[in-house]
Symmetry: D4
Subunit: 255 residues, 8 copies
C-alpha cells in the first residue's frame, strides 16, 4: 500500500501533475519506517522463526490468547513464557495444538519448521530448584532452533561434580549457567571453559539471597572476565542471547 503511494507520487511527478518540491515535501513527511524498518522486522521475523515472544505476567488470559492467535494465524511459531495453567487453558481453546510445559511455564505451538542453528548449547544447573528456570531456557532454545541440552545438579559444594563434566562442557559453543544461592557455579564453570558463559541468577534460597539479588551481584562480580549476566530467573533471555551469539556466525562465515 505504502509502496503504491510512492509509486503514485512518482507517476504524478513524471507526468508533471506535481512538481519537484511537492515530491520532496511528501518524502519529508513520509512515514519512513514503513520503508525501512518494516523490512528489517520482516527479515528478522523470518530468520528468527517468530516475530514476538509473549511475556504473560500482567496480561489477562484473553489478551494472551488474542496475541497468540495473531501470531499463529500468520503461521509463525508461538512462544509464551511465564504462563499460568489458566492462561494455557484459554489459549488451548483457540489453538488446540498449543503445548504447555508445566515446569518451564511455556506455551509453544509449532507452525513451520524451526531453524537449525549450528553450535552446541549446554544449560548447567546448580540444583534441582533451578530446573524451572533452566527449562524455560531449554524450551526457548528449542523454539529458536538451538542444539540445546541440560546438565542438572552440578553444585560447587562438590566441585568434583563440575569437574566430572569438563569434557562435555568443553564441547559446547555456549554455556548457560543457572544458579541460586551464591551463584558461584558461573565463576567455576567460566574458569574451566573458553567459550562464552551466560549466567542466570535464580531466586530460590535463604533470606539473604533477597530473591535472587545475591547470585545476580555475584555473577556480575565474577572473577572470570566476560560472564554475560541475565536478569533474575530469566532463562528466556539466556537462550535468546545464546541464539544471537550463534546466529552472528552466519554473517561472519559469509565474509
Amino acid at each position: 500500500m505504502d509502496k503504491e503511494n510512492i509509486i503514485e507520487i512518482l507517476h504524478k511527478y513524471k507526468s508533471g501533475s506535481i512538481c519537484e518540491d511537492e515530491v520532496l515535501d511528501y518524502l519529508k513527511k513520509f512515514p519512513y519506517e514503513n520503508l525501512v524498518f518494516a523490512k528489517i522486522d520482516h527479515h528478522r521475523a523470518l530468520r528468527w522463526g517468530f516475530p514476538e515472544v509473549i511475556y504473560c505476567p500482567g496480561k489477562t488470559p484473553d489478551q494472551v490468547k488474542e496475541i497468540s492467535l495473531n501470531i499463529t494465524k500468520k503461521n509463525f511459531n508461538l512462544l509464551a513464557t511465564r504462563a499460568s495453567e489458566e492462561i494455557y487453558q484459554t489459549v488451548k481453546k483457540a489453538i488446540p495444538d498449543a503445548k504447555f510445559n508445566e515446569i518451564g511455564k511455556t506455551i509453544t505451538c509449532i507452525k513451520k519448521e524451526r531453524n537449525k542453528i549450528k553450535g552446541k548449547v549446554i544449560i548447567v544447573t546448580a540444583g534441582t530448584s533451578d530446573i524451572p528456570v533452566a527449562t524455560e531456557a531449554l524450551e526457548t532454545g528449542k523454539m529458536l532452533g538451538l542444539d540445546i541440552s541440560i546438565i542438572i545438579d552440578i553444585g560447587v559444594a562438590g566441585i568434583h561434580r563440575v569437574l566430572d563434566h569438563k569434557n562435555l562442557l568443553d564441547s559446547a559453543s555456549v554455556i548457560i549457567v543457572v544458579a541460586g544461592m551464591e551463584g558461584a557455579l558461573a565463576s567455576v564453570v567460566g574458569g574451566l571453559v573458553s567459550s562464552p558463559v551466560i549466567a542466570v541468577p535464580a531466586s530460590i534460597g535463604y533470606g539473604a539471597s533477597f530473591e535472587g539479588l545475591t547470585p545476580l551481584l555475584s555473577m556480575l562480580n565474577s572473577c572470570v572476565p566476560g560472564i554475560a549476566v541475565m536478569n533474575i530467573d530469566n532463562g528466556f533471555g539466556a537462550a535468546f542471547l545464546a541464539f544471537k551469539i550463534l546466529n552472528t556466525l552466519n554473517t561472519i562465515e559469509k565474509t
Copy 2:
C-alpha cells in the same frame, strides 16, 4: 618432574619392585591437576595471547611491576587495567616499552604478535563521559586481537543520532554499548540490530544514578531479550566477552 615421577613409578612396577596396589595407591594421591589442568591453562594462554590480565586496584605499584615482569619475561603480552600514573611509572622503569593509555587507564606491552579474530566489534557510547570505560574496552579488545572500533556520543535523547549509524551497527558481529544515566541506549541499539549486544553501565550521572546502579538495573531489565550485562564501568569484561563470542565461532567453523 612430575612426569619423571610417574615414569619412575612405572619402571619400578614393570621391574617388579613395587606391586599393582602400590601403583594404584600412588595414583590416587597424585596431584592430578599437574597432568590435566596445567596443559589446559598453557593451551589457553597460547591461544589468548596472555595468561593473566592485571587488575590494579588494591595492588601496590611494586606488586604490579613484579607480576608484569613475570608476564613479559615469558614473552607474553601485558595488559593491566585501572592503572594509576604512579603504577605506570613504576612498571615503566622495569619494562621500558610499556605503554600507558591515560584515558582508559591501561598499561600494555606487546611481546609477540597478537591474534587476529574474525568478526567486527563496535563500541557505542552514549556520551563523552563514557569514553574512559569505552577506551578500556577498546584497549582490551586490541590486545585480544579483535577488529574493534568506537562510535562516540550517540545518545537516546536524540534518537536520530542512533538511527544515523544503523548501517554501521548492522555491520558489526558484536556490539558493546557503554551508557550511564538511564542506560536506555542498550535497549535502543539492541532493538535495532540482530547481533549480540554487550551492555556496560557507566557510573557517571546525577545522584539517583547511585554510581551506576541505575543503568545496571536498566540494562538487566531491558525489554530487548538477551542483552549481556557487565559490571559497572567494566569495559575490560565487555571486550573479553566479545572475544569469547567471536573465538567460539572460530571453533564452530572448524567443525
Copy 3:
C-alpha cells in the same frame, strides 16, 4: 457561622460592650483558616470538579462507601482509585450509578458536568502489561476534564513502533509514558517531542525490576532533561499533573 461570630464581635465592639484589646485577643485566637483556607479549598474544589480523590488501600469497604456518599451528596463527582471488586459492590449499594473500571480499578460517579480543559494529553504504554496503570491515568484524566487518549504497546525493542506515532505524539500538549522493564520509553519519547513528558514506572517485570524500582530509577536518570517522574504504578498522579499543567496555562492565557 464563623462569619456570624466575627460580626457579633464587631457589633459588641462598636456598641462598646467589649474594648479594642478584647477584639485583638479574639482575633489572635481566631481559627484563621476558616476565613482564609476554607475559601481557597472551596474555590479549588469548584474548579477541579471534586474535592478529594479516594485512595482505597488500607480503607475498609464501609469507609470508602461513607466517604463516597459524603462526596456525591454534595453533588461533587466521585473518583476512587485502587478499588477492589468488593469495595465497588459496597459503594454501589449506596450509590447505584457508580461505575467500576475493572482494569483501572477506579470507581467513578458523575454528578455534574466535568471541566473541559484545553490541550491534548496522550498516554503511551510500552506493553500490554502496563494497561492497568494507563487506564487509571485515563479514567482520572477524564474525570478531571482532560482531552485524553491512549496509544498501547509501543516498545523500545522495536523503535519503529515509536517512530510510527511521531506525528501523533507531536500533536499532544502533554504526554504520559507508562513503562515497566527498563523504562527506556520515557527517554525515547522525551527525545522525540518538545512537550512535557510525565513518566510512570510500572511494577511488572523480571526479578531485578524490583517491583518497579528499576524503571523508577531509569526515568529519574533520563538523559532527556526535564522528565517529570511519578511514583511506581501511579497513573492517577500522572493524570493529575497533566491536569495541573494544562490548567495553569489557562491562567496564563487570561493574563
Copy 4:
C-alpha cells in the same frame, strides 16, 4: 546536499535514466533522518535557544572547551552545568565572554537574544544549603528565557514562613521546590497552590538522608497528587521541565 541527492534521483527518474524500482530502492536505503529529524532538531534548537547543554562531570576541561566553542561558533547560547573552576578557566581562554556562576557551577555565554517565555516561575528552597541547586535552576531558567526568581529558606519546621509567601506562590505558573532533609516542603507547597510543582531533592543532610535518597523517596510519595519529581540535586532538569510546560502553551494558544 542530501536534498540535492534526491533531486538528482528524481531528475534521473523523470528523464528515464533510472526506473521506478530503482527510485524505490534508493528511498528504502535513504538516510531518512536527514530528511526528517535534522529539521526537527534544527527547529528545536532555534526555538529553545541552544542545541545542547553540557553536563561537565566525566569530561576533561579540553572536551568541555571544544564542545563550547562548537556551540558558540554557531552563535548559539552556551550553558554548561556542574562545571569546576578549572573547567571554567579553560573555557574562558577560548571564549573570553563566558561567565561562571560559582554557586550554581554554571558556565554561560549569551550569543543571541534569549527567548521570552510567558508565565512566572518561582524557585522555593527549604534551607540555605539548597542554594547551589536552586541557583543551577535559576541560571538554566534564565538561559531558557523564563521569568524566574528564588525565595530562600522557607522551611517546614516553621510553617508560617511558608504561609507568609502564599500570595506570591499563588502568582506563579510553575513552582520549583528544592529541599533536602525529609523534603516535606514539596508536599506543603503542593498542598497550598494549584499550579504544577516540580520537586528537586537535595543531597545535604544527616547520614540517613543517604545523599538525597530520602527527600527523593519522600517527594515521589507525596500525599499531594501530581508532584513532578527530578533526580537528586538536578536543578537544571527542574528548570527545563518548567520551560517545557510553559512552552507547550504556545501550541495550545494557536489552536
Copy 5:
C-alpha cells in the same frame, strides 16, 4: 526462698559452722540477679500494670494462649498485639473476658485497675489508612493508663486541616504522629508544637513507599529537631514511649 538461703548461710557463719571464706565463696556464685533484678522487674511490673506485652507474629495460637493465661492468672492486665482473629478465638476460650480490637489487632483483658498517668497524649493520623496503626497505639496507651485520644485524617496536602487543630495539639504533653506516604505530617506537626513528637511511619502507599521505608527515612531526616522515630507501623512502641516520657515525671517531681 533465695532470701532464706542467704539467711541460712549467715546463720551458719554466725554460729561458726562455716568460715568467712566460705561465705565469700558462696556470695560470688550467688545468682545475684535474684537479689537485684527480680526486685526491679517486680517493681516495674507493678508500676506498669503488666509484666510483658505479647507480640503475636511467629507464635502459634496455643503459645499466645499459654502466655496470656500465665499473665492473667497472676492478675496482671493482658495486652497482645498483632493478633489474628484465630489467635483471639483461641485465647477467648481460656480467658472469656478477653477483648479483641479488630482494627488495632489487640487482645486485652483488664484484671486490675489501670494506672492514671498525668499528661495528655494525642495521636494524629494523616489518613484513614493509618487508623489500624493509630488504634494499636490507642489501645496500648489505654492499657498503660494514658489519657490518650485520636485526631483522624489530618493530611499535609490540606495544611489548613492541621492548622485547624493547633490549639488542641498545643494542649498535648506528647503527640504521636502516624503517617504513611512521605510522612511529612511529622515535620509539620513538629514545627507547630513544642512538646515531644513521636513519629510512626505507616506501610500503606504506592510502590516507592517500599512498605513504609519512605516515611521512616523521611521522619528520621525531619528538619524539625528531636522527632522520636519508631519502627514501621509500630503504634505499640509509640504509646510505650509516650508512657515512659510521662512516667519519668514522677521521679522528677519527687526531687
Copy 6:
C-alpha cells in the same frame, strides 16, 4: 505595626468610615501568621533560649557568620553544629567571644543566661569512637539548659561495664545512648531502666555497618519497646528531644 493596622481598621469601623463587610474582607486577606505564629515563635525562642540552630554543612563560612551575627545581635544564644575550623575562624572574627568545641564541632556563644531544666540527662557511649557525636549532644544539651553529663565507653561486649553503672543510669530522667557497630547498647540500657531512652546510631564501623545504617536499623528494631531513634550521628537531635521531654514535664507540673 500589624497590630496598629488592625487597630486602625477597628477605629475606622467604629467611627463608621468603613462598614462591616469591609472589615470582614480585610480580615480574610490579613496575613494571619503575623498575628498568630509570630507570637508563638517569639514565645518559643524566649523559652528555648535561641531562635534557630545553625546546621553548617552546605553553607559557606560567610553565610554561617551572617546568620550567627543576626542571632547574637538580638542577644540570643548561638549554637552552630557540624562546623569546620574554617567556619569557626570566620565566625570568630565577627563574634570574638564565640567558642569552638573541636570534638563536637559546635560553635557556641552565650549572650544571656541559659535555662535551667529540671531532670537529669545522661549520655552513654559504647566506644571512644562515639565521643564526637556524644559531645555534640552534650554541647547542645548545655545550651538548652539541661543538667547533662556523659558516661564513656560502656560496651555490650563487656556487659558488666553496663551493669556497673546501673544506679547512675537509674538516676537519670532521660538517657541518650550513642552507639555504632550493632548498636545493641540501646537495647541493653533500655532493658535496664524505666526512663525514656533516646538512641543515636553512630557511623563508625566495619564495612557492613554501611556508615551507620546497621545501628540505625538495629535501634529501630529494638526488642525494648519505645526506644526513640534519631538520625545517624545526630547528637544534636537527641539532646533536643531530651529537652522537649523534660520541658513538657514542667508544663504538666504547672497544671
Copy 7:
C-alpha cells in the same frame, strides 16, 4: 570399574603391549575425580552419617521423595529441611518410618546409628517466635550426632534472663544464638562467654526488620569479635558449623 580399567592398563604396560607414553597419555585423560574425589566424598559421608541434606524449597514433592529414597536405600540417615506437610506426606508413602517435625519443618529418618560428637552445644533463642529456626538447628544437630539442647526466650530487654543462664552458657563448647528484632542477643551472649558463638538472624519482626536484614547486619557488626554469622533463618547451617567445629577438634586430639 575404573580401578579395573587402570589395572588393565598396567597389565598391558607390564606385558609390553603398550608403551610408557601410552600409559602417560591415558593417565592425563583419566577421570581423576573417580580416583580422588569419590574417595573423599565417601569418607566424608561415612564420617558425617549422611551424604546430602535436602533443601526442599523449589523442589516438587516427588523430587524430594526420589532423593530421599536414594539416600535411605543406601542406608544413610535422611535429613530434609524446609519441608511442607505435603512433601512429608509424599515422602512418608515411600519411607514409612520418616518423621516430621512440624515446627522445625524437618523430615528425618534414621537408618544407622548416629555419630557421638564430643562437646556440648546450646541453642539460645531471644523469643518464642524464634523457635522454628531453633528447632531446625536442633533437629539438624541431633542428626549430626551433637549433644545439643535449647534455652528458650532469653531476651536482651530483660538482661537478667541472660545472666541467669551464665553458668549453663559457660558449660557449652559452642553456642548458637537465634534472634530476630535487633539481634542484640548475639553480642550480649558473645560478651559473656569465651566459646565460639554462631549467630542466626531471624526474619520475624516489625517492618524495618526487613525480613531479617536488620539482625543479619547487626550480628555482622557485633562489637564482640569473632561472631560467626549465618544466613537469615538458617538454623540448619548453624548446627552444621557447630558440627564442623567440634569435629575438627577430634582431629586435633588425635594428633
Copy 8:
C-alpha cells in the same frame, strides 16, 4: 577492697553490731559485678593474652596512645588494628618497642610470652588485592598464639590453583578465606574440606561489588552449609573466631 568491705560487714554481723536485715539490704545493693564479672574478665584476659584490642578508626592518635600505654603498663600484649602511620608514630613515642605492620595496619607490642594454641590455621586469599585483610588476620592470629599461615592468590577463575593446595588445606583445623569480587572461593574451599571455614568478604572490586556487599551476600548464601561469615574486610574477627574455636578444645579435652 570490695572483698574487704564484705568482710567488714560480715564481722559486724557476727559481732552483732548489725542485724540480719541490714546484711541482706547491703547485699541487695552490692555491686555484684565486682564479685562475679571482674573475676571472669581477669580470667579471660590472662587466658587470651590481652584484655582489649584497639580498633583505631574514630579515635585520635592520643586516645590510641593512652589506651595502649594502659595495656602495656599492665604487661599485657598490645594489638591495635586499622592504625594509620600517624597513629603508629604517636604510639611509638610512648612505647618504643611497638611494631607496625604497614600492609595489615596493625600495631603490636609483645610484653609477655604469647599462648600456644594447638591446631593449624590457614588463611587463603583469592587475589593480591586481598593481602591487607589477610595480613590483619595473620597478625591478629599470631598475637593470639595461633599456628597460622597464608596461601596467596588462589582464585576460582583457575580452579586448579585451588585443587593444587588440597592436601595443605586438608591439614588445617580451621581455614580463613578472604575474597572480594563474587567471593566464590569460600564455597569452593568449603566444598573441598571438612574443617570449619571462616569467610571474610573483601571490599576491592568493580562498581557492583558495592564495596564488599556482593561477596558478603555471596558468602552468607553459600551452598556449602556452615560457612562462618565475618563483616567486610574484618580479618581481625576471622582470626579471633579461629582462636575461639581452637581454644574451646581445651575445655573438651579436660572433660
